[in-house]
C-alpha cells in the first residue's frame, strides 16, 4: 500500500538501450493491453535515413496490461455480491423517505462490510492451501488482496461509526473501542490464553503486558476476570483494584449526562485519592494499571512507545479521559493525540491506512475520498462508499461547504467503475448494472461497449441481445445480428445467415442473402436452406426480395409435388407482382414454359397474354439493355450476362417462349370460347 510511487516501465533491451532506452507504445484495439517497443527519438532536424546499426538487433514488442486484483476467482464473488447490494441500495434510494430508512442504510453498509469480511476469510483460507504456498507469485497476490481489503474494511467500519449514525448526542467512544478491538485481535487472543491458564497465568511473562494492553484497549471486563484469577487476588490491593474497575461509571443511552458527569468525577477523585495514599504500592504492576486508568500521561507515554499504530490506543485513552466524547469533539482529541504521538515517535512513517484513519477522524472526508481512489482495488471502495454517502445524505452540508458536487462525483465514479467492469473480460454482466445508473452517458456507454464484447457462441450472443433488448438498444441488437449473419454467411451456413439477417431486420442484408440464394438457384438448380425458407412465415415481409424468394419457393414446392394448377396461379401472381429481380426474369419465364406446353392446358388465355406481355415488356428490354452494356466489352455475349443453367442462349429461349405462348393462347381461346356457358 505504498502510495505516491508512480509505477515505471522500461524496456532495457539492446535496441532500446542503443537510443537511450526510449520507447513508443500504442493501445491494442479490442483489449486493454498496450504494445511497447523501442523507439528512436526523431526531430525535425534528424536525417531521414536508416541508422548504421539498422537490422542488427531484433525488434522486440512488449505487451503490458494493467494489473488487477480481480483476476483472482475468489475476488469475483466480492464483485458479484456487492453488485447485488448496490442494486438493493438503488431501489432503496427510490423508495419514499421514512424513519426506517436510516436503519436500512446502516444495514446496507453492514452488508458491504460483511461481504468484505467473508471474502477476507476465504482469502486467508485459500492462502494456506498448499498449491498457493508453493506458488510465490500467487501467494503475493493473495497477500496484496488481503491487505487492501483489510484496510478497506477497517476504514469502512470507522466511517460507519463516525458518519452513518444519528449525529446528535451520540457517544463514539464505545463504538471506537469495538472498532479497535476488531482490528487488533492479538491482545484478546492472549487474554483468552491467560483466562484458560487460570491461576498459573500470573507466572506468565506476558501477564502484565497483556493486562496493560487490555486496559489501553478499554476491555475492562476481561481485565477484571484475569485479575480475579491472580494468586493474590484476595489481597487488599487487588480487592481495591477490583472495586475501582467495578465501580467505573459507564454511560448508557437515556442516562442524564449531567448525572453521569458528576458520577464520573466522583469516581475519578476516588481513584486519585487511592493512588495518592499508595493503596496499590505493594503491587507496582497493578499500580501502573491504575495509573493508566487514571489517564496518567507518563504511564501512557511509556506504553505508547510499544504500540503499532497511532490510533491503536486512542479510543482507550478517550475512555478514561473523555468518556462522553462526541464526533465533533473527536477532531480536537485526535489533533492533540497526534501531536503527542509525533513527539514520542518522531521517526515514525505514516502508512496510507493510518493516514486515512486520521482523515476520517479529523473530519477531512474530502482528502479521504481522494486517498481512497489511490487504493489498489480498481475504485471498488470509493465507488460504493460515495454511492452510499450520496444516498444517506448525512454529509450533504459538508460537501456543499467544500463546494463538491456530490451528485456529479458519484455519477462519474459509478460510470468509471461500470466501464471498467464492462471492458474487462467476463465481468460485463456486472458492469452493465452500474452503467444503468448513469442516465444518458451510461446508455451511450452501454451502446458502445455491448457490441464490443467478443461473441464466442450463440448462447452468449443471446444473453447480450437480451440485455440490449431490455434497454431498447435496437442498434446494438441489429449490429450483433448482422455480425453473426455475416459470420455464418462467410462460413457458407446460409440458413443460419438468413435467420440472423431476419433478426437484424436489416433490409439490405436480408435482400443480399435472398439474392444470393436466388442466384445460386438459377445458376445450379439447387435451392439452399429449404427448411429455413419454409418456416420463415411472416418474417418474410422484411424485404420484398425475401417475399419473392419464399413465394417462389412455394411455387417450386407445388411444381415438385406436381400440383401444376396451383403452381401456375402462383407463377402468374409472381410475374405480375413487380418484385421479381432482373436477374431472375429468364428463370421465372422458363418455369412457365413446361406449363404452357403441357398436354392439358393449365394457363388461361388472359394469363397467357400476361406472360407474353411480361416477356416483351420486361425481358426483351432487359436483354437489350444488357447487350448495350456488354457491347462495350466486345467478346461478351448475353449468354454470360444471364448465368442460368438452363439458358444456353437467351434469344433461342425468347423464340421458344413466344411460340409456346402463341400455341397455348390458341388452345386456351378455343377451349374457353367453346366451353358450355351456363
Amino acid at each position: 500500500m505504498n502510495d505516491d510511487i508512480v509505477p515505471q516501465f522500461e524496456l532495457g533491451d539492446v535496441l532500446a538501450m542503443r537510443c537511450g532506452n526510449t520507447l513508443t507504445a500504442s493501445f491494442v484495439p479490442g483489449s486493454s493491453k498496450i504494445a511497447m517497443s523501442a523507439y528512436r527519438p526523431v526531430k525535425w532536424s534528424s536525417r531521414d535515413a536508416p541508422t548504421d546499426t539498422a537490422g542488427e538487433d531484433p525488434v522486440l514488442i512488449y505487451m503490458a496490461e494493467e494489473t488487477t486484483l480481480y483476476t483472482e476467482p475468489l475476488l469475483r464473488s466480492l464483485l458479484a455480491e456487492t453488485n447485488a447490494t448496490f442494486e438493493t441500495l438503488q431501489t432503496l434510494g427510490q423508495a419514499p423517505n421514512g424513519v426506517l430508512k436510516t436503519q436500512e442504510y446502516m444495514k446496507i453498509s453492514r452488508t458491504y462490510r460483511s461481504i468484505i469480511r467473508c471474502c477476507l476469510e476465504k482469502l486467508e483460507h485459500a492462502k494456506k492451501m498448499p498449491e498457493v504456498q508453493e506458488n510465490e507469485l500467487k501467494e503475493q497476490r493473495y497477500t496484496e488482496a488481503i491487505m487492501t481489503f483489510y484496510a478497506i474494511e477497517c476504514l469502512w467500519h470507522l466511517f460507519e461509526i463516525l458518519y452513518m449514525q444519528q449525529q446528535h448526542n451520540q457517544m463514539v467512544v464505545p463504538q471506537l473501542l469495538e472498532w479497535t478491538r476488531f482490528h487488533y485481535p492479538h491482545t484478546e487472543d492472549r487474554a483468552t490464553d491467560l483466562l484458560l491458564m487460570a491461576e498459573e497465568a500470573s507466572e506468565c511473562d506476558s501477564y502484565w503486558d497483556t493486562l496493560k494492553k487490555l486496559i489501553m484497549l478499554g476491555q475492562l471486563d476481561v481485565t477484571r476476570a484475569i485479575l480475579s484469577q491472580h494468586r493474590k487476588s484476595n489481597q487488599a490491593a487487588f480487592q481495591a483494584a477490583e472495586a475501582i474497575l467495578k465501580s467505573m461509571p459507564i454511560y448508557q443511552d437515556g442516562y442524564a449526562l449531567q448525572k453521569f458527569c458528576s458520577q464520573w468525577e466522583y469516581w475519578q477523585v476516588d481513584l486519585e485519592r487511592k493512588l495518592a495514599s499508595h493503596v496499590f504500592a505493594a503491587e507496582p504492576e497493578l499500580e501502573v494499571l491504575m495509573h493508566l486508568i487514571k489517564g496518567n500521561n507518563e504511564s501512557w507515554d511509556k506504553e505508547l512507545l510499544k504500540s503499532q499504530d497511532w490510533y491503536e490506543y486512542l479510543p482507550g485513552y478517550l475512555l478514561y479521559t473523555r468518556p462522553t466524547c462526541k464526533p465533533f469533539e473527536l477532531r480536537i482529541a485526535v489533533t492533540n493525540w497526534l501531536n503527542r504521538w509525533s513527539q514520542l515517535r518522531p521517526n515514525w512513517q505514516m502508512t496510507q491506512l493510518s493516514r486515512m484513519v486520521m482523515q476520517l477522524m479529523e473530519h477531512d472526508v474530502k482528502l479521504f475520498i481522494y486517498d481512497a481512489q489511490k487504493l489498489n482495488d480498481s475504485h471498488w471502495f470509493a465507488t460504493h462508499l460515495i454511492d452510499l454517502i450520496y444516498h444517506t445524505g448525512h454529509l450533504k452540508s459538508y460537501f456543499e461547504q467544500q463546494t463538491i458536487d456530490l451528485t456529479a462525483l458519484r455519477h462519474s465514479m459509478i460510470f468509471e467503475y461500470g466501464s471498467y467492469l464492462m471492458t474487462s473480460h467476463n465481468l460485463w454482466q456486472l458492469g452493465i448494472d452500474y452503467l444503468d445508473c448513469c442516465k444518458h452517458e451510461g446508455t451511450a456507454a452501454i451502446e458502445l461497449l455491448l457490441p464490443r464484447i467478443p461473441l464466442r457462441n450463440e448462447r452468449q450472443a443471446f444473453k447480450i441481445l437480451a440485455l440490449a433488448k431490455r434497454r431498447g438498444l435496437i442498434n446494438v441488437e441489429q449490429d450483433i445480428c448482422k455480425v453473426l449473419s455475416k459470420r455464418a454467411y462467410n462460413d457458407q451456413r446460409y440458413g443460419s445467415a438468413l435467420e440472423w439477417a431476419t433478426r437484424s431486420k436489416d433490409v439490405l442484408l436480408v435482400t443480399a442473402i435472398a439474392d444470393f440464394i436466388l442466384k445460386h438457384y438459377s445458376r445450379t438448380g439447387i435451392m439452399l436452406c429449404q427448411d429455413v425458407i419454409t418456416s420463415i412465415g411472416a418474417r418474410m415481409f422484411i424485404s420484398p426480395r425475401l417475399v419473392f424468394l419464399s413465394k417462389y419457393y412455394e411455387f417450386y414446392e407445388f411444381y415438385r409435388q406436381r400440383d401444376f394448377l396451383s403452381g401456375a396461379e402462383l407463377l402468374i401472381n409472381l410475374l405480375a407482382s413487380k418484385i421479381t429481380p432482373d436477374y431472375f426474369w429468364p428463370s421465372l419465364l422458363i418455369d412457365a414454359l413446361p406449363l404452357l406446353e403441357s398436354e392439358d392446358p393449365k394457363i388461361f388465355s388472359k394469363e397467357t397474354i400476361a406472360i407474353l406481355q411480361h416477356l416483351e415488356m420486361e425481358l426483351v428490354p432487359l436483354i437489350e439493355r444488357n447487350k448495350l452494356n456488354t457491347a462495350k466489352f466486345n467478346n461478351q455475349t448475353s449468354k454470360t450476362v444471364f448465368k442460368d443453367y438452363r439458358v444456353e442462349n437467351v434469344e433461342e429461349i425468347l423464340d421458344l417462349m413466344r411460340l409456346a405462348c402463341a400455341r397455348n393462347l390458341a388452345r386456351a381461346l378455343i377451349i374457353e370460347n367453346t366451353a358450355p356457358t351456363s
Binding site: E458, Q460, K463, A466, Q492, S496, T502, C529, T534, F541
Partner: protein, 354 residues
C-alpha cells in the same frame, strides 16, 4: 409457501446445475458447470449443515472439480454416478462421481471426438444441449446436427442426423428412439434415431409467438414424466407452448409467462403436477395443477396442460425466486429442494419447495 432461499456466491457464472441422483433420500450433493470463465469447471458440491447463521440450514462446499475446455452447455446423469457433459468446443465428456464419506471425487473417464463442426471452415461448433435416454446420449449443436452416442463408448457415434440448417438449441427424448429438437427459429422437429438420412419422418411444427414478424427461439423443451405425449417448450418471448404429440396440427396450449426468454423448463421428477420455469430476467416460477379443481372434462385422464385456454384456470403460479435480476440459467429439483445456477455467480438453494 414457506420456502427458504439461500444464496451462495461461488465466483463462477453457472450454466448448468444438477442434483446427484438418490433413490431413497433427499440428495445433498449437486454438480455445477460454469461458462464464460477463464477456465470452466464442473464441480461437485456437498451440503453441509451450517452451524452459524440461523436462517441458512446448509452451506454447499466444493469437494472436487474437473477443468473443461470451454463453456459447459449441458449436464445430465446417465446413471447414479456417471455424468455426461457437453461443452462449447463441440465435444462431450463422461465424468464419474465417487461418493465418499469425507470428500467426494469427480474425474473424467472419457472424451468424445469433435462431434459438431462447421463444415466449411472446419472449426468446432458449440454443442448446445444434451439429452439422455438409458445409456444413449444425444447432442445437438450450432451446426444443426444431432449426434447419438452410447455413454459407454464415446469413440463411436451411433447416428448423425443433419437435422437443420441453423443451430439447434434444445433436444429431448420423447421415446426410446424418438428425439425432439428445437432450433433458433422456434421450429421443433422430431427424429427417429434408428433411421439415417432420407428415412427420417418429416415432422416439424412451430412454437407459437405473439409477434409473428419477430423470431422466437425455443430454448428448452421437456416432456411430462408420466404422460410422455405432453411436450412443453419455453421460448424466447417468455411464453410456454404445450403440444400433444398425438395431435400435432396445432399446439394444445399457449401461455404467456415471463417477460424475458425462458432459459430452462422442467417437471418435478417425483411430483409431475409441478412444473418449473426459469427466465433470463432472474425468475423461477412454479406452476402447480390445482388439486381441488376437478371438472368432468378432466376425468378422462386429460392433463391440465392440454386444456388450451383453460390452463390458466387449472394451474397456479408461484414465484419461487424473483428479483435476482440476472439470468437463472438452470435449475434442478429433487424432493423438496431446488437448486438454481445463475449469472449472478451464485447458486440458490430453496428448501421446502412443495
Amino acid at each position: 409457501m414457506a420456502t427458504k432461499v439461500a444464496a451462495h456466491y461461488i465466483s463462477e457464472k453457472v450454466s448448468k446445475v444438477r442434483w446427484l441422483p438418490e433413490k431413497l433420500q433427499q440428495s445433498d450433493r449437486f454438480v455445477t458447470g460454469s461458462w464464460d470463465m477463464d477456465t470452466n469447471f464442473v464441480r461437485v458440491w456437498r451440503l453441509h449443515s451450517n452451524p452459524y447463521a440461523e436462517n441458512v440450514d446448509h452451506t454447499p462446499r466444493c469437494n472436487d472439480k474437473v477443468a473443461m475446455e470451454n463453456d459447459v452447455t449441458g449436464l445430465e446423469f446417465v446413471n447414479n454416478d456417471t455424468l455426461a457433459v457437453s461443452c462449447a468446443d463441440g465435444h462431450i465428456s463422461i465424468l464419474n462421481v465417487q461418493r465418499a464419506v469425507e470428500e467426494d471425487q469427480i474425474e473424467r473417464t472419457a472424451r468424445s471426438e469433435r462431434l459438431h463442426e462447421f463444415k466449411c471452415s472446419k472449426t468446432s461448433a458449440p454443442c448446445t444441449a444434451i439429452a439422455v435416454y438409458g445409456t444413449d446420449v444425444a447432442t445437438v449443436g450450432e451446426d444443426g446436427c444431432v449426434n447419438v452416442l452410447n455413454a459407454s463408448n464415446l469413440k463411436q457415434v451411433k447416428r448423425t442426423i443433419e437435422a437443420d440448417s441453423m443451430s439447434l438449441l434444445a433436444v429431448t427424448y420423447v421415446g426410446q428412439h424418438q428425439l425432439v429438437t428445437a432450433n433458433r427459429m422456434g421450429v421443433i422437429r422430431m427424429f427417429d434415431t434408428r433411421s439415417g438420412g432420407e428415412g427420417q419422418p418429416k415432422i416439424a411444427f412451430m412454437a407459437a409467438c405473439q409477434d409473428a414478424k419477430s423470431s422466437n427461439y425455443v430454448s428448452s423443451i421437456a416432456t411430462h414424466p408420466m404422460q410422455q405425449h405432453i411436450l412443453i417448450c419455453g421460448s424466447e418471448e417468455g411464453s410456454i407452448t404445450v403440444w400433444d404429440l398425438r395431435n400435432l396440427e396445432y399446439p394444445a396450449s399457449y401461455l404467456s409467462a415471463h417477460n424475458s426468454p425462458i432459459t430452462d423448463i422442467g417437471f418435478h421428477r417425483q411430483d409431475p403436477s409441478k412444473l418449473f420455469t426459469a427466465a433470463e430476467a432472474g425468475e423461477v416460477w412454479m406452476w402447480s395443477e390445482k388439486k381441488t379443481h376437478i371438472d368432468p372434462s378432466q376425468q378422462d385422464g386429460k392433463s391440465a396442460w392440454l386444456s388450451g385456454d383453460r390452463v390458466r384456470a387449472l394451474v397456479n403460479v408461484d414465484g419461487v425466486l424473483t428479483n435476482i435480476r440476472k439470468a437463472v440459467n438452470s435449475f434442478d429439483v429433487h424432493g423438496t429442494r431446488l437448486v438454481c445456477g445463475s449469472d449472478t455467480e451464485a447458486v440458490y438453494i430453496v428448501d421446502d419447495i412443495l
